[in-house]
Symmetry: C2
Subunit: 408 residues, 2 copies
């Protein structure tokens, strides 16, 4: 398989969009060797099982993994269940809660369901790093720890900053980068992929492989994806994210909210368009020969298609268009039945139009809820007209509320 | 048992000669609690199994352990076989070679044979820390490492010095103090004893016990024993040591070579004399009312008695005296038979008068070998007189060489 594309073609595809390749020279060398031997490259990517909901930011690296797969290489999807089982023993970190084996299994299944929207299951190995890290034992872990120095570990940006500021660093925090580096040893990785912020950790993997007398992996980092708006990277907690499992309409609508600038960034990192096409888009937008809204629609259709079908993506676009054409009310919307009079907060929450009662309460407080053409003045209970009425939350969420006949 | 001596008596004996007790207040509290409950205190001391030959320097801490035993307390002799099995994985340290389980067992036996010259076997538990440290596993070791910070570990003198000088510190070096601290957790130590240079490590034990919700151990350090001469602590590699298994004559002779100053130091750390007796000795030596040589003989007899019997110790003293009386040649000495002419180097090595041919060669080169009253001019072969002759190596090693009849 790896023999089909030429060395130059492989390098061009793999380099596309990458932030850094370390060391640069090894990309060519590894690809050449793979073509010569007929053996696919083994590409590692690690995932933290404590937060199984992926957003588009995570897909940037996965898309690069898919490029490797398209060239016939083998992707190892390493789930960091070992550290997940330990959690943060100091209890200081919310991002590293201790998970039960049951939770880890569930999260892994959620993960897989999401990543296989992008990756080719036949060229993906899903591995749990507890397999080899538990087996290491305390003696093995000490041997591993002997292969890296305190000074080098303190060169990592966040450690250096905390050390200078005299903020506590627990010694086990030095062991996590080593443990994930050992993953590369155990699976004999040729490449490891990650976000730009992972560069240090990936290079530790390279160093540790050498210490275990293995040819060191090369490292490829991808830029971090910016959020829908604002200066931050995409993050669920900042509310600027699009979830991989979001329904087509929601995905499409949110993608249509980005600025023209961000469009180029998303086209680069969230599609397989060639660099030339991206440049054409950029200059077309600049000289006015391309209409931004149309370009944004095309981009959104392309992204939604990756996670749903092209048919669903186009349908989402058409519904979005129809809403605009008719002053903002879509033709089709879900229906919810309620007895009259009804508390709007109950409808919002029970119908799933909002994610939580808290969100419903917030929208009501902000005056972002309309019912039967009227803005709701707060958390109110109102009559449902005999013919039903449209409930709207925020800009794009609509619900038809029908009157439930009272119980006999 | 712990009830026999009063709190004040116990404290007086345990404080004697100690360098530091941390925290001071807990000595009294722990002793009181032991008397009240009738439960003996559990006293930990750790030993490195990579160098099983003990010298008098090691016995300073053991003597303190014996004091605990004399008061009815329980001594845990923890053999650090876990770290011994790992060795220094970087291969940089000569003092931490990797040992086989077989070597560790042998060294442990050697240890026991030596320590039971001082300790009461009935109140001594011999434990191997691999029992609990191997069981910890990689996850347990990470949890342990989470209980201590990088900054605190870097406060240890040697780490701080190396860090400042930008000398490499491997991360596993941070794990060893934690592993030995975990020994205290596993055995629920009330006290840990060690040399002054161990203070930091012992206090880590105290900290870690607290982290594992155990009442923290108190820590008692003993001063380091100076060598026979010079400004260094006693150390086999510096050649200023007296081995615990050295024969009585050798032990006695070497102890007689110390200076008057060191006599006070040795009397304090190598005998059970009360502080008043030591002061009396010191002032007696100062005002000339005590003869230094006689005092030194008494001290040497007392020390040799601890490792051999008082009878053997006195016999060694008498032989030493006789040598002096007769211009330096002892009355009794071992006999060795050799054909004439004989190469002196062969006699030295074959008879065991020197430890190795290398040492024999060195002594011959230095002109420190006499045969039949003549200084040997080097590595020579000489006739053996019909009546035999005395071979002398250095100051105190003598051998009677008799002529072997030639083979028939």
């Amino acid at each position: 398989m790896p023999g089909k594309a030429s060395v130059a073609e492989q390098i061009a595809l793999l380099e596309k969009g990458a932030d850094r390749i370390e060391p640069r020279s090894e990309l060519r060398r590894k690809v050449e060797r793979s073509i010569a031997s007929g053996a696919p490259l083994r590409v590692k990517v690690g995932f933290d099982p404590s937060a199984p909901d992926l957003h588009l930011g995570h897909t940037v690296v996965m898309r690069k993994m898919r490029h490797f797969q398209q060239l016939g290489h083998e992707v190892w999807f390493v789930i960091g269940d070992f550290t997940g089982m330990i959690g943060d023993p100091t209890g200081r970190s919310k991002t590293r809660p201790q998970l039960t084996p049951e939770q880890i299994r569930e999260n892994a299944e959620t993960y897989k369901a999401q990543v296989f929207r992008i990756l080719d299951p036949d060229r993906t190995v899903v591995a749990f790093n507890s397999t080899w890290l538990s087996e290491l034992g305390s003696a093995g872990l000490i041997r591993l720890a002997s292969r890296y120095t305190v000074a080098r570990m303190l060169e990592r940006d966040d450690f250096r900053r905390r050390f200078r500021k005299e903020q506590a660093i627990s010694i086990h925090e030095f062991l996590y980068p080593l443990a994930q580096a050992y993953d590369s040893v155990a699976m004999k990785a040729d490449f490891e992929l990650g976000g730009t912020d992972q560069l240090f950790n990936l290079l530790v993997g390279r160093h540790i492989m050498r210490e275990y007398d293995l040819p060191p992996q090369a490292v490829l980092t991808m830029p971090l994806l910016m959020g829908l708006s604002g200066p931050d990277k995409m993050s669920k907690s900042l509310g600027n994210a699009v979830g991989v499992t979001d329904p087509p309409d929601q995905m499409f609508g949110r993608l249509m909210s980005i600025s023209d600038d961000r469009m180029i960034h998303y086209a680069t990192l969230l599609t397989d368009r060639a660099p030339g096409e991206i440049e054409a888009l950029e200059s077309g937008l600049a000289d006015g020969s391309i209409h931004p809204k149309r370009a944004k629609q095309e981009l959104a259709v392309s992204i939604v298609s990756d996670f749903h079908s092209p048919t669903e993506a186009r349908a989402a676009r058409d519904r979005f268009e129809a809403v605009f054409a008719r002053g903002g009310v879509p033709e089709e919307m879900p229906t919810h039945r309620a007895e009259s009079p009804v508390r709007l907060l109950d409808v919002l929450a029970d119908s799933g139009l909002v994610r939580s009662r808290a969100e419903g309460r917030r929208l009501l407080r902000q005056g972002a809820v309309w019912f039967a053409g009227q803005r709701a003045p707060g958390d109110v209970t109102v009559p449902v007209p005999a013919e039903g009425a449209v409930l709207r939350a925020g800009k794009r969420r609509f619900l038809r509320v029908e009157r439930e006949p009272p119980p006999p």
